[in-house]
Symmetry: D2
Subunit: 160 residues, 4 copies
């Protein structure tokens, strides 16, 4: 597997930034997590955006779509904020010949307790087995895009 | 997915036990990891053994086989030491109608930096997509049992 | 040593609260940290406030002062946000017969990388050796209150 | 404070070494911990030995003594295995004009839950306040060397 990873921001990469007493989105953590996970495949990480997913614009989604469409590899992982992950997935409809999996996390990867490393494994386990299409890997499950929603009050993704 | 998890020991569950200044196998960590990962499916954890996988006997493997064969669920995850994971997989040959995935880790889940949560996600992402059979999920990859070996000097699993 | 610990909030106890994609002050973490540290002395933790220290009012400081003055023990540790830690220390001037040490952290204790456990140790090492008075333990140093300020741009406390 | 830190091995610096399914003493972790703690004083770390403290010989203790005696700084922190920490302290008797504090940990610093960062803070808080002498900072307390023992079954240091 030759994996292309695009990061867009979201909770996954949030850090605690003291001077403003605020969380902000830091550099992508995925490379550290993959080294910790001792993965043995080729991958490349490109940071496209560093935004809370509630702040993503149509232009941002057009940028993501262009990058995904132009990517030479078949396997694409997109790390994305959970709040509008399903919207961005819809914006990628119609890109053929690719397995595109979104994941993110409910707790930042930089927290002591986080779903980020597990979710990354979940997405990568799914990526190499799925047929071409758009998917969301969250809450320990792999969903087809369009058949999943975030249940915000329960803090999980569920099929619909 | 109704997931049955069997733990057998191995590095995954090792803890540092001071009185002997030695690592020993502790209680299974998988339940804590799955809560941290906020998974939303039914699972059950049974601790069958607490052994370094180099110490597993034929009787131990017969026990694992019996438990797997008797399990009512189709999806089975086995957490196992990496050194003889492939041997135990061979001992389960011929069990029909089940997706059986082995995983483990090179660093204990209780370490600050460990491949355990990622590997757990990898195995669970694969489990729900694979056809019936025996598999090993390690090093960021999903291998069919019988077509993989541990490269001990490199600290990874690779196809063969 | 019979240690009274008062928590008031601040970065030390911040958690990441997903539904708002924001941080909030959670339950005190000090008890978990002291168990992890395997301390062997008597202590009691009382949570007085759960506030960012920029939001502390005169009433809040009067409450802290009343609680400290009424405390039967000589050794008092106050976990406090770093931004106005020195102000609250000034508000405790004149309380006799007590060793009062403030500490806090620049990164939440719940982060993977945090100064919180070290700072807690620093404060407790100092507490049992200091004469009566008001002190701030931060940045690996023990300062007398009134002779220290937070250098916000450098993210550290320094003598003045 | 100009702090000289000597590391000698022990549980503090243990790592899990997979190829042998065993633990070994790794590179000193103290520098990472001090950066995480955001300390603001000068320090220097020298790794003298990488041994379980049960394996320290008279020659090893002579080496430690020589290095401590030759050190130009007044403040010296020694990171040491807990099992014979008190013996090495005795071997340093008679070195004048220095504050020498030993610390270590019951759980490796590389574990998710460890007393190492707290103990490091405890020792450093004590170091800057103590008069010249030999001390042990463990279990949340600061002991004079010669008046403390490790209670192995309880996993703590206690006065005697």
């Amino acid at each position: 597997m030759n994996l292309q990873i695009f990061t867009t921001g979201g909770t996954f990469d949030k850090l605690y930034y003291d001077a403003l007493s605020d969380f902000q989105i830091g550099d992508p953590t995925v490379d550290d997590l993959l080294r910790e996970a001792r993965v043995d495949f080729s991958y490349r990480v490109d940071s496209l955006l560093k935004k809370d997913s509630l702040d993503l614009t149509d232009e941002d989604r057009a940028l993501i779509r262009d990058q995904v469409a132009a990517c030479e590899h078949r396997h694409i992982l997109i790390i994305h904020g959970t709040d509008t992950m399903t919207n961005t997935a819809e914006a990628l409809r119609g890109i053929a010949g690719k397995v595109i999996v979104f994941t993110g996390s409910m707790q930042p990867a930089r927290m002591r307790q986080s779903d980020a490393p597990f979710n990354l494994g979940l997405a990568i386990g799914a990526l190499q087995l799925l047929p071409d299409g758009l998917y969301i890997a969250m809450s320990g499950q792999v969903f087809e895009a369009g058949k999943v929603r975030k249940n915000r009050s329960e803090g999980r993704f569920e099929g619909q």
